[in-house]
């Protein structure tokens, strides 16, 4: 199994390191032809406007959208979640837009409002997950086809729709491997 990590901008190295600890091979994705060489893809945290712009300018947006619509497993964290959302509140920024969710950007406030918290995510285990939220978005609305996996104060911060997994926080910034393991085993391998 080989997992691609979109490497236009952002914390792609942290995702590679987490996947390496799970014994999963990775590939930095910067050109469209690389999309045929992978079994799943991660869209990392970073700046969603920057990543979206570069995906468009370097002809990755359309092929990526097609691959995801035809079933390529994808995990978007923070900026990655924004890029996967069909709707972004008050924004027409370029996006992949394959998932039936509506998100709000910078929804918890500015950097001084960024926080870390213990989060209950029954799908990935009994023990809470330490979740790091950095200028984070959250999900305002979901269609019935979307499974909600975690909430902070009633705000949806993790969800799944078939081959698509998103989190508003950054599991790649902690040593907890459970969320990446969930992506590999449940979403990519369907175990």
């Amino acid at each position: 199994m080989k997992i691609g990590v979109i490497a236009m901008q952002g914390a792609f190295r942290e995702h590679e390191q987490t996947l390496a600890r799970l014994g999963v091979e990775t590939l930095r994705i910067r050109r469209p032809e690389q999309l045929s060489q992978i079994d799943g893809i991660i869209i990392p945290g970073g700046e969603s406007t920057t990543i979206g712009k570069l995906l468009g300018d370097f002809n990755l947006m359309e092929p990526l959208r097609e691959r995801i619509l035809s079933g390529l497993p994808v995990f978007g964290t923070c900026a990655g979640m924004i890029l996967l959302a069909k709707e972004i509140e008050n924004s027409n920024q370029p996006r992949i837009g394959t998932m039936d969710i509506k998100v709000a950007r910078n929804a918890f406030g500015r950097q001084v409002d960024s926080f870390e918290v213990d989060l209950e995510i029954p799908e990935v285990g009994q023990e809470p997950v330490r979740a790091v939220f950095i200028r984070a978005p959250y999900i305002l609305e979901v269609k019935p086809s979307v499974q909600v996996l975690a909430k902070v104060d009633d705000k949806i911060v993790m969800a799944r729709q078939d081959n698509m997994l998103v989190s508003a926080f950054h599991p790649e910034l902690t040593d907890d491997l459970r969320i990446h393991r969930y992506f590999i085993e449940k979403v990519c391998k369907g175990l």
Binding site: A7, M8, Q9, G10, A11, F12, R13, E14, R30, G45, G46, E47, T49, T50, K53, L54, D57, F58, C78, A79, S91, R105, N106, F108, G109, R110, Q111, V112, D113, S114, F115, E116, V117, V132, F133, I134, R135, V152, D153, H170, L173, T174
Partner: protein, 294 residues
């Protein structure tokens, strides 16, 4: 809700900026141009470094009104600069809600002995460094991000190259040193021992390290990335050139595709004139911004 202003959270935003370009802006209009060109953040200031050099006098924190208007104009993170040691300017910027504070040698230092105690703030700080000892002292004071000092406002990348090579070379030296030599190395560099030990064990700084000061072309940006930078700050290089929009987009693309000469050749075409630039040898020692800080 949860814990705010923790080290993980402060350092985390810098991690998210990696592989990106942070652009100096002086107006909301420039901030929008930067965001549309793909900047991952903007730095709000009163004058770009080239104009600070030209104007002379004392350079201070920007007017809060200008900073607030820039924060309203864009959705990407907004940074702002304070004078070295001026912790009240920093308190003001934190109260305004800026996302990152640059304790910067580009502004006229307010304290020539002591930097700000950055641990006392919830907002994260970026600081300049010419070598590993200076970088580790700043991190010891609480900086969650480091950048080279370079020589701002000159359009001349030579000092940024010197500082990046210096830091990366010293990291390699510390990494390969036997453990019993580390305390002497820490003493010689004037660096906290626990951070020297971290560098020895991990082969890198404990925080993100960007390149800054003198970057004027896509080739300059890619050069700094190939030398080991995590990302790029560009100041005068964009808004002092003939075509700021084209040049900003090209520098963003060059930072992502820094190891792909074909893309670099493509984005370098037809950008018009770069900023005029200054030969650093013609700047007297006392006017060199890279000599500020300790």
């Amino acid at each position: 809700m949860g814990e705010k202003g923790t080290w993980v959270v402060k350092k985390g935003l810098a991690e998210m900026l990696k592989g990106g370009v942070i652009m100096d802006v002086t107006t909301p209009e420039q901030a929008k141009i930067a965001e549309e060109a793909g900047a991952c953040a903007v730095m709000a200031l009163e004058r770009v470094p080239a104009d600070i050099r030209a104007a002379g006098g004392v350079a201070r924190m920007a007017d809060p009104n200008v900073i607030l208007r820039i924060m309203d104009a864009v959705t990407i993170p907004v940074m702002a600069k304070v004078r070295i040691g001026h912790f009240v300017e920093a308190q003001i910027l934190e109260a305004l809600g800026v996302d990152y504070i640059d304790e910067s040698e580009v502004l006229t230092p307010a304290d020539e002995l002591f930097h700000i105690d950055k641990h006392a703030f919830k907002v994260p700080f970026v600081c300049g460094a010419r070598n590993l000892g200076e970088a580790l002292r700043r991190i010891g004071e609480g900086a969650a991000m480091i950048r080279t000092k370079g020589e701002p406002g000159t359009g001349n990348v030579v000092e940024a190259v010197r500082h990046m090579r210096q830091v990366m070379g010293e990291i390699r030296r510390i990494q390969n040193m036997p453990r019993e030599e580390l305390m002497t190395a820490a003493k010689e560099m004037g660096a906290p021992y626990d951070l020297v030990l971290y560098v020895h064990e991990h082969g890198r700084l404990p925080v993100v390290n960007f390149a800054a000061g003198g970057i004027a072309t896509p080739a300059d940006a890619a050069l700094m990335m190939q030398l080991g930078a995590d990302g790029i700050f560009v100041g005068s290089g964009i808004f002092k050139s003939k075509d700021p929009v084209g040049r900003a987009k090209a520098i963003v693309a060059a930072t992502t595709y820094y190891d792909d000469p074909k893309v670099l050749a493509e984005v370098s075409k037809g950008l018009g004139e770069a900023m005029p630039g200054i030969d650093i040898k013609t700047i007297s020692q006392t006017e060199r911004m890279s000599e500020r800080g300790w």
